[in-house]
Amino acid sequence: MDALAHAKTYAIPHDLPLDSGQALVGARIAYETYGELAEDRSNAVLVCHALTGDQYVASTHPVTGKPGWWERMVGPGKPIDTDRFHVICANVIGSCMGSTGPASEASDGKPYAMRFPVITIRDMVRGLVALLDGLGIERLHAVVGGSMGGMQALSLAANWPERAERVLVIASTARHSAQNIAFHEVGRQAIMADPAWAGGDYYEGEARPDNGLAVARMAAHITYLSEEGLTAKFGRRLQDRDATSFSFDADFQVESYLRYQGSGFTQRFDANSYLYITRAMDYFDLAEEHGGKLANAFAGSSARFCVVSFDTDWLYPTSESRHIVHALNAAGAKVSFVELSAPAGHDSFLLPHDQLDRVVGGFIE
């Protein structure tokens, strides 16, 4: 991808140990920064991205040409104010926007493909911490993340408690539920059932498992929306026709929308990365990492926490956020929690929401 040629990357100078017991040698982390770093390096805010996100949080995506995924939240005068804060957003390891992942070259000069080690959320955070070390940032003013980004923020707070003063977790969870894992498995099976996937070794051939990846994205996309939101947006309205066609064309607008989402996604995302990152999320269980008790994960943490959920999010429902809040309370950590009302389901954290803006702005302040 030539568009990535100018991307900022940091070469981790040491081997990156992984939860699997393996290590990544010569790993690179691609990142973007916004706003000036203060002389005492005290104003850094790390924004962690969700499953299919990337480092382009507030700048044009080089592949799609679309605005950054959280441009409404990050920028001059915005809730995460780049006039005051030095915002860092990095592409997680395992991904495909410049950080080392299954599409990267292994030591033999060929893409890792399925030889890439299975990674975890904590491994992703190891990569982020290595980047912070490289940038000379000892302590973050705040770490912020939504969805999988929230898992990274929690993992950072639990495993590197001295690295962040504030921890903001939006629409996220401390563990993947059976339902979460089930939806991810549907996506992975769709990719692996695509003949073009070829056991993951598709990088040097003509065909890519775009059909499988598109289906994976379509299934996942449904989980990001709410029934209310889908009904309001599409109902049972037909697409470009007056009657059903008695075929398997996209008769309904919602079908056409999902197909569009699926095919657009294949332009910018690597199918193997999708496999690895969803696996990392499925393995995520912060309590299990800390002796089975979530409160233990936060014992002795001096950070301030803020947890936000949305009332229509059924992927990571409010009960999951409350679970985190109870653990933080039990650990004596300083925690705020608010459930916001929004019609759009899990995706709400990416959409305009005045109350979310005020919570984020006020907490980061």
Partner: protein, 195 residues
């Protein structure tokens, strides 16, 4: 910013550096005061997300939740003080709420509007309708106050629950008044309790 009279009485009697849980903390005025003036570690619980958002913006640690159920998640004696200001009368079961207060806090402060105040009595006696007064400004059909309580009722409840009334304060016209005849003279009451 000056505190409401009942909150000022509470603030004046919370020991410096205490751990405090303010239940129904509203916009966090008392918590803010206790943290900045008293060096307290203050936590809040509030039902209204807009008020929680205001608290978060002030840098306070406030959890959106319903005290009727969520207090159960807090360990015993997690706080030096549990504070319930102007919220007892909105509780599903004020008696159980009082138990919970004295479980999570070593001491509790409770403030509430006194339904036996003379203004309320006269409104009911001569008007024959549910009183709408300065202290109880909302019509019966939309009020959050589902268990109106008087000062004497509260004393009875405390006794029945084995709670000790350590101190009490009474207010009318935003000013402190003597305990004499408080049950009909006071618009608001504040009690400090222990067990």
């Amino acid at each position: 910013m000056s505190l409401r009279a009942d909150l000022a009485a509470i603030a004046a009697h919370v020991r410096e550096g205490s751990r405090v849980l303010d239940i129904g903390c509203g916009d966090g005025a008392l918590m803010d005061h206790l943290q900045s003036e008293g060096g307290c570690d203050a936590r809040g619980m509030e039902l209204d997300p807009v008020l929680v958002q205001r608290c978060v913006s002030r840098g306070l640690s406030v959890v959106q939740g319903d005290a009727n159920v969520d207090l159960a998640d807090y360990p015993d004696k997690a706080f030096d003080y549990a504070i319930l200001s102007q919220t007892l009368q909105t509780a599903t079961r004020p008696d159980l709420m009082l138990d919970e207060l004295l479980r999570v806090g070593s001491r509790a402060f409770v403030s509430f509007p006194n339904f036996a105040h003379w203004r309320t009595r006269t409104a009911l006696m001569f008007g024959g309708r549910m009183p709408v007064t300065r202290a109880l400004p909302v019509s019966w059909y939309e009020t959050e106050n589902i268990h109106h309580v008087t000062i004497d009722d509260f004393r009875d409840l405390a006794r029945a629950k084995g709670a000790l009334i350590e101190r009490s304060w009474f207010f009318a016209n935003e000013r402190a008044i003597s305990p004499v005849g408080a049950n009909w003279r006071a618009e608001f009451a504040v009690f400090e309790l222990s067990r």
